[in-house]
């Protein structure tokens, strides 16, 4: 990894009780996410087990591990697609037990998906407007009768959508059908849509998948930009190590559903358990 292109903010990370680390600046703030012994079992198979993680209010955190380690399952647990069979998830201190996906969204958690889930048949702007659904409201009857509230809120939605699209240079694409965009633009749109919900924690599931180094570079800048501009925390699942090591402040490594290491980029890279998980055990009698 070249020294020149490091975006890592060299944040000082301090430890907190749950064996996690958070950025020093967030130490006195309520962590945006805290999981305690979180786990889910599918008919005897523990897909995720004893997962403990704390993420600081403005932290950019990474969740890595080999394929099938359970990373997306963790996301699904955090967004209440799955209800955990053990443990607790706290968003801004609030216990998410029993919540539905919709309720979780209202608590301030937003995500993108590994296999892009856009509203293909709707336009780019409409996709973003869906993210604004709970921000600028008016009821069905105001809509049908075109009462003043309709016009006011629609205008606000339009302005805010364009503002968000502008941040990512996508405002020219506003009227294009989402399904017709090139892959990279679709991924960016998913992020914009998630941001529209004004989350406190943004979950990105393999945002760099299918990107070339230049695009990944741009993504790193965008992620840092998002955190700086919106003051939110970001948790990303990624396989692209340059992205993870470049932008993540705290990293958690998962294998077979369990945490095998937590720390800063330097610590993780030197951790033998992590190396073994990715590269396999060194053969003993080789010489």
């Amino acid at each position: 990894m070249t020294e020149a292109k490091r975006h890592r903010s060299d944040t000082k990370m301090v430890p907190v009780p749950s064996q996690s680390i958070v950025p020093e600046r967030d130490v006195n703030e309520l962590p945006v996410l805290e999981t305690r012994h979180l786990g889910i079992e599918f008919g005897g198979l523990k897909a995720v087990d004893d997962f403990n993680l704390t993420i600081g209010k403005t932290e950019i955190a990474g969740l890595i591990g080999p394929n099938g380690a359970g990373k997306t399952t963790v996301f699904n647990l955090l967004t209440k697609v799955y209800e955990p069979t053990s443990g607790v998830v706290l968003i801004n201190g609030k216990d998410m037990h029993g919540m539905s996906i919709v309720q979780a969204s209202r608590q301030g958690i937003a995500r993108t998906f590994q296999n892009i889930r856009l509203f293909d048949k709707m336009t780019v702007e409409e996709n973003v407007r869906i993210g604004l659904h709970n921000k600028y409201k008016y009821d069905m009857f105001s809509g049908i009768l075109r009462l003043p509230r309709y016009w006011i809120q629609e205008k606000r939605q339009h302005e805010r959508s364009m503002e968000l699209l502008d941040i990512f240079g996508m405002q020219d694409l506003a009227d294009k059908q989402a399904g017709s965009l090139p892959y990279g633009a679709q991924r960016r749109l998913e992020i914009v849509r998630a941001l529209a919900t004004e989350p406190k924690l943004l979950l990105l599931d393999e945002p760099a998948a299918g990107m070339n180094p230049h695009e990944t570079e741009e993504l790193m800048e965008n992620i840092a930009k998002i955190r700086d501009r919106f003051g939110i925390a970001i948790l990303l699942i990624e396989h692209d190590m340059s992205l993870v090591m470049g932008v993540c402040e705290g990293i958690c490594v998962l294998n077979f559903g369990r945490v095998i290491a937590k720390g800063t980029a330097d610590e993780i890279q030197a951790n033998p358990a992590v190396i073994e998980a990715y590269l396999g055990k060194r053969k003993e009698a080789e010489a």
Binding site: T72, N76, V81, F113, N115
Partner: protein, 292 residues
């Protein structure tokens, strides 16, 4: 009528529904479409058998075989001409085409055989009965139930033991992968339609032996009911079709007797709704888990 007699009648009607439902469920499972015209193929089968026995003086068994042959050819032809061009289309487009095909069959039958209800000859099958204890069971009932069991067992063996049967299961799970494995998908789907249509012909004959009136619209309602039976059992599942068919037949007979003949149909549909509310994927269906 005693409880046992009702039950046996229910099994008879249910067997017929089960055979029809099998055709629906196989086509749905493998070709991923709802063949709305299936009920009308039943009608065609019944008419051919009718013509054979009544008009052409062919003995009953060859007539039935003739009906099966005609329906098989018809089913394969329909698939090749109307459904295959729409393999890539949305399922709704295929459904509408199937509906059009259903109208086509009904109106062609109308043209050929006229609108008057024909009386299906039942003597060849109803001429004897067996007494078990206090019950007198017409042989037709036993034949119907037996035929159903034979079909069910053969189909289960076929799909699990034979190469072609396994190919059918592959196509139903993942058509793309099946093709990559060298399975001739077109032939497999055609075969599915062939089997389903042959079964429809048998069902047509059995049905008209139970309820001897035959008209171009005769296949429509049983088709719908059998379709609901397939769904109740879990669409795509062969044992499910059997279970759903029998259940619906029994419910219809009991409903007609204990509650009201006139509300028979309504009761059948009400039961369907209740089952699906409790088990949204059908009795033996597997709930599809979407990967998030």
């Amino acid at each position: 009528m005693s409880f046992l007699e009702l039950l046996i009648n229910g099994l008879r009607l249910g067997s017929i529904y089960a055979i029809i439902a099998l055709g629906y469920t196989m086509v749905y499972g493998i070709a991923k479409m709802l063949n709305f015209a299936h009920g009308d193929i039943i009608m065609v089968g019944a008419y051919i058998a009718f013509c054979g026995i009544q008009n052409w003086g062919i003995p009953p068994v060859p007539s039935i075989l003739l009906a099966m042959l005609v329906c098989t050819v018809l089913g394969v032809a329909i698939e090749g001409l109307a459904y295959r061009p729409l393999r890539q289309a949305t399922s709704l487009a295929v459904l509408i085409t199937a509906i059009g095909m259903s109208y086509l069959l009904q109106n062609t039958a109308l043209m050929i055989w006229g609108a008057n209800t024909k009386s299906f000859p039942t003597t060849f099958i109803n001429n004897s009965s067996i007494s078990v204890g206090e019950l007198t069971i017409p042989s037709a009932t036993l034949i119907t139930i037996a035929v159903n069991i034979v079909i069910m067992v053969s189909l289960t063996l076929f799909t699990s033991k034979t190469k072609t049967g396994k190919a059918m299961r592959c196509v139903s799970e993942d058509r793309g992968a099946a093709e990559l494995m060298g399975i001739n998908v077109n032939r497999t789907i055609s075969l599915t339609f062939a089997i389903g249509s042959a079964l429809a012909a048998i069902a047509g004959v059995l049905m008209c032996s139970t309820i001897p009136s035959l008209a171009p619209t005769t296949g429509s309602m049983p088709g719908i009911k059998a379709f609901t039976a397939a769904v109740v059992g879990g669409i795509g599942s062969i044992p499910g079709a059997m279970l759903g068919g029998i259940l619906l037949g029994v419910v219809e007979i009991f409903g007609n007797y204990y509650i009201s003949t006139d509300l028979g149909d309504a009761i059948v549909f009400a039961v369907l709704i209740i089952v699906l509310l409790v088990k949204p994927a059908g009795l033996l269906g597997k709930p599809m888990r979407e990967k998030v």
